[in-house]
């Protein structure tokens, strides 16, 4: 039985009075990739943004329930510290446009304490290697982040998130804005990342979930419908609703 790194416990989140997700209890196994799939508006983005306490930074939002990281409720901890342990990569690559590649990757370290130049250098190289970007930028690490292509920028954002040394990496549709080749590179990257990190990835692309995830959760209208090993969910879903969705017979 897998050990559980992150767990949502009866999680409900509101947007201006209306619940976007309702009573979701879900376990994310340690060092595995868990995908969250479902039709538009099913609450997958809301769910993932509750996992690093980003949801509550928007106006008129409210969260009920718990999210446990190694059995500690993150809603009882300092949110800034929580976000250093749970990192996030967004749908549209968002590097800091006024900073260089180096400054982007080292941002978390530079803003959160004192580090020597050697420590920063080491972390930058390591993170860029982990996100398969090092070879492409190693001779222009001081170039502005905006000089990279879309796919490279997204890998830069991944490196930036990894440099903060998180335990969990949340990815909100990381490949939606990318072409197929860039997407393939990132999917491959995700497969390697799971040796060191627990990954949660939201995707609207079922085939992507099938390709990268060990476990998949299916959400519909804010509720968790089914969760299980990806293979089982795609070959033999237990819920009729799940089957309707993955066979494309919705509506």
């Amino acid at each position: 039985m897998e050990s559980v790194k992150l767990r949502a416990d009866h999680l409900t989140a509101f947007y201006g009075g209306k619940p976007a997700i309702q009573d979701i209890s879900l376990e994310f196994p340690d060092r595995k990739v868990t995908a969250i799939i479902g039709p538009s508006g099913c609450g997958k983005s809301t769910l993932i943004r509750c996992l690093n306490r980003l949801h509550e930074t928007a106006p008129r939002t409210r969260v009920e329930g718990k999210v446990l990281l190694d059995d500690e409720d993150i809603y009882q901890l300092d949110p800034v510290r929580v976000r250093r342990r749970i990192g996030m990569v967004f749908q549209k690559p968002n590097p800091f446009v006024t900073m260089s590649i180096y400054d982007n990757v080292s941002a978390a370290m530079r803003f959160n304490g004192r580090h020597t130049r050697e420590e920063l250098d080491h972390a930058v190289v390591h993170s860029l290697q982990q996100s398969a970007l090092w070879e492409e930028v190693k001779d222009r690490v001081d170039a502005p982040a905006t000089s990279l292509s879309g796919g490279q920028q997204q890998r830069l954002c991944i490196a930036r998130a990894l440099a903060a040394d998180p335990e969990v990496l949340l990815m909100d549709e990381p490949c939606s804005a990318l072409d197929p080749i860039a997407t393939a590179k990132i999917e491959e990257l995700v497969g390697r990342l799971k040796t060191d990190y627990t990954v949660v990835i939201v995707t609207h692309n079922m085939q992507q979930a099938a390709r990268v995830a060990d476990y998949t959760a299916f959400l519909y209208l804010g509720k968790l419908i089914e969760f299980g090993p990806t293979e089982d969910l795609f070959e033999r879903p237990k819920e009729k609703l799940t089957e309707s969705y993955i066979t494309g017979r919705f509506g």
């Binding site: 930074t57 250093r84 342990r85 967004f90 590097p95 800091f96 446009v97 930036r160």
Partner: protein, 305 residues
């Protein structure tokens, strides 16, 4: 031509409509041109007059550094210089900037980063309103306060700087807030998701991203303050001495121009024109320099592309 016969009527109508439209177009263009000329005329006239009247004075080598002239009604009286006045203006504007830049920028950050909660909107609205208040009223406000609390400071560098700061703060707040608004939310989210504290994110990331816009706003406020006369007339008054202590009055260019122009001494008139020309040139130079610097800042930040 035979083919046109059937459509003859309609094509002639079209032609008339077209010709009429062109005519109207031309009339409006001419009117607009005349309006532009009318609008620019005072400025052109001013610059021309300043050049003619003040040119001779300004280009004396010592004009900018020598002390103010003594009253003298003979044509051959010396014009000497406006040195202390320039120093005074610089001190007043400098001190006002020192006060207004931090306050204005922080207020703008507050308004922008907390814009969804009521208090942010209040700050923003207040800045909008205050930027439209006539500067004499700002001066009167400072005057009223000082008369009650520190009457000996009413005529001083401090009072003048406070009034100028009061004028500059709303301008800086508004322009900085605009500049901060151009920073996409994605940047803020990225910073928050990295576990960077909100105030650090606002100051060191968002503000830096918006820096060109912020600097533009500050320079705008500075140029406005450099040219304000009314509050200074009310408060600091005028002096021909070099700066000694902050609780004493000091000269400033706008007030000098006002004061000297009303006096009967001809050499003082010449000095006033010289000061006018100097002020115009200074503002022009600051304008050009700031555009150039900001442009360079922008290209450096966005990767020289």
């Amino acid at each position: 031509m035979a083919g046109d016969a059937g459509r003859g009527g309609s094509s002639r109508v079209k032609f008339d409509r077209f010709a009429r439209r062109k005519l109207v177009n031309r009339i409006i263009t001419v009117l607009a041109g005349l309006a532009v000329i009318a609008a620019l005329y005072p400025l052109v006239d001013l610059v021309y007059t300043a050049l003619v009247q003040g040119g001779g004075v300004l280009f004396q080598l010592t004009f900018l550094t020598a002390r103010n002239p003594t009253p003298c009604s003979v044509v051959s009286c010396a014009t000497v210089g406006i040195g202390p006045t320039i120093e005074g203006s610089a001190i007043l504007v400098g001190l006002a900037s020192l006060i207004s830049v931090p306050v204005g920028v922080l207020a703008a950050i507050f308004a922008s980063e907390y814009r969804t909660r009521g208090i942010g909107r209040v700050v923003s609205f207040t800045a909008d309103v205050l930027s439209g208040v006539p500067s004499i009223l700002m001066g009167a406000f400072v005057y009223g306060y000082l008369v009650l609390e520190y009457p000996n400071l009413v005529e001083s560098v401090i009072s003048g700087s406070l009034a100028l700061a009061a004028i500059m703060i709303p301008i800086i707040t508004r322009t900085t807030e605009e500049a901060l608004r151009t920073v996409p939310d994605a940047t803020r989210e990225a910073a928050i998701a990295l576990g960077i504290a909100k105030w650090k994110m606002s100051l060191r990331i968002v503000l830096i991203s918006a820096l060109p816009g912020v600097v533009t706003g500050v320079l705008l406020a500075v140029m406005r303050a450099a040219g304000e006369a009314a509050p200074l007339i009310l408060l600091t008054g005028f002096s021909t001495n070099w700066y000694t202590r902050p609780d004493l009055p000091v000269g400033s260019l706008p007030v000098l121009i006002y004061t000297y122009a009303l006096q009967p001494y001809s050499n003082w008139h010449a000095v006033a024109w010289g000061a006018t020309l100097f002020l115009l040139i200074a503002i022009l130079v600051v304008n050009v320099l700031s555009r150039y610097t900001i442009q360079r800042m922008v290209t450096k930040m966005s990767g020289g592309s």
